[in-house]
């Protein structure tokens, strides 16, 4: 299982008051939801992990390898990321070529590239759209396409920034399924999300950030049991908990299924 270790990590944006300061943090679960308010430092962590930002001091180790020692190509094979807005990256004439472009950064065999791209498109349900202009696809489809560009490269660690934002229900289901498959095949997935229902129901572990620090790391159950912490970091509990609370039951529930299990005992 991949493991990310952050030690004495510091980063300050030029001309801004925000400061990221992490004493020591190990991310070793396979499905991690990274949550927190806007400006808590979630995206900064992602940018540091992908080398878009360089830390002022401290170390980032992925599987005991120092991140800064990796070549760009090694890094691509180790860590892949998709951003919130698919329109920040699509530029090829067809969906197929878009995925092939990403692959061509890490491998040379044309035949293999074509095959791998096709397989990745099929995984996100876009095999029918392979020949279409990415910008003729719907937003949900475009977002799935960006996921395919990373799936094709098949890195060890996946970072997703708000993968569910503005997705339709069908795409959300598909994304969840893909996440579980990846986790089952030995990958690590770290996802920034505002969707607490999803984070609570589908994730093994929650990492909560506020003001540039990690405030919590552990199971969703442990986090949502701590109401004062939820409030302190400015988050909301999942809907099922709000409903239960209004019904006079303040225990933590992660999903409808969870509620049912606890009540049918």
């Amino acid at each position: 299982m991949p493991q990310i270790e952050l030690t004495q990590l510091q980063y300050t944006y030029p001309q801004q008051s925000f400061r990221l300061a992490i004493h020591h943090q190990v991310l070793s679960d396979s499905l991690i939801a990274l949550v927190g308010q806007n400006g808590a430092g979630k995206s900064t962590i992602f940018k540091l992990l992908t080398g878009l930002l360089t830390a002022d001091s401290g170390s980032i180790k992925i599987n005991h390898q120092e991140l800064s020692d990796l070549t760009p190509k090694q890094r691509l094979k180790l860590i892949g990321i998709t951003f919130q807005n698919p329109d920040d990256q699509l530029f090829n004439a067809t969906a197929q070529k878009e995925v092939e472009w990403s692959l061509s950064q890490v491998m040379a065999n044309k035949q293999q590239i074509t095959l791998k791209a096709k397989a990745a498109l099929a995984k996100v349900g876009l095999e029918q759209q392979a020949g279409e202009n990415p910008y003729d696809l719907s937003l949900s489809e475009r977002k799935r396409l960006t996921v395919a560009t990373v799936l094709a490269v098949d890195p060890l660690v996946y970072l997703f920034d708000e993968p569910l934002m503005s997705l339709d229900w069908y795409s959300k289901q598909m994304m969840t399924k893909i996440f579980h498959q990846l986790a089952a095949s030995g990958h690590q997935i770290i996802t920034i999300t505002h969707d607490m229902d999803w984070a609570a129901a589908e994730f093994e572990s929650l990492s909560v950030m506020a003001n540039g620090h990690f405030k919590f790391s552990g199971t969703p159950k442990a986090f949502f049991s701590n109401r004062s912490l939820i409030q302190e970091v400015g988050l909301l509990p999942p809907k099922i908990m709000t409903i239960a609370e209004k019904l006079g039951d303040s225990r933590p529930y992660l999903s409808v299924e969870d509620y049912y299990r606890q009540h049918s005992k």
Binding site: P72, K73, F83, D87, Q89, L90, F91, S102, Q105, T149
Partner: protein, 264 residues
Amino acid sequence: MTDQRILSENSHPKPRWYNTIDPITKLLMILDFSLLSFSTHRLLLEAGFISVTFLLLLLSKVSPTTLKALGFSLFLILTMLVIQGLFYSKNQVVLLTILGVNFYKEGIIYAATLGSRVLVIILSTGFFMVTTSISENAKYLEQTGLSYRTIYLLMSVCYILPEMMRNMHKIQMAQKVRGTNPQKTLMQKLKSILPVLIPLVIKTLDQSMERSISLQLRGFNNPKRRALATPYHYRLAPLAHISLTMIAILLIGWQIWSKINLFL
């Protein structure tokens, strides 16, 4: 555009002396100064114009953008002095010799005259640049009766650009983590900007489409639309406009007349 940006953000409360001059007067001043500098060949006069416009700029404020524009032109003027000093076709009298190379008087004077004109234009425009904000221009132009459409065409790019630059930055990041091939040849370099340019162009045009719809939904071409008041009170605007326009016409007329006289 950075300076205008900063100006428009903190539209400061206490007006300085230059705030009592309206934007159109400032634009006409640029025109008149440029025409003046083009209507003479005397270096002494040019030096006078440069001093006046430089003084105007000093009395308002000096901005990094103006300095940058000046720096670039000064460099070009320098190369002009060298090239014309060496090779100007009417060169006859040697002015000075550096390391055995002759620089001729005629070429140097020619280049100095051209350079002075450029400086006058840059300095007078610089005065306009640092003393008016985009929104002041927009409001004033609308008050003078220009249609919102025209003002939008002229001004909105200043508002769009910061957003475009931010989008470009985001796109560059998104593409950087997908990997970048090393580029050596011009062709490779050109290809390497497509991953940034295509998303940026599409995003920008998408936003234009949306803005076009949105502006109509928000009723921008409603005949009842009223122009907003400008933040400053301008002095003697009509008088300044008329006299500066008269000067411009006289200068142009004089130029044409002297050209015609050459043939008579």
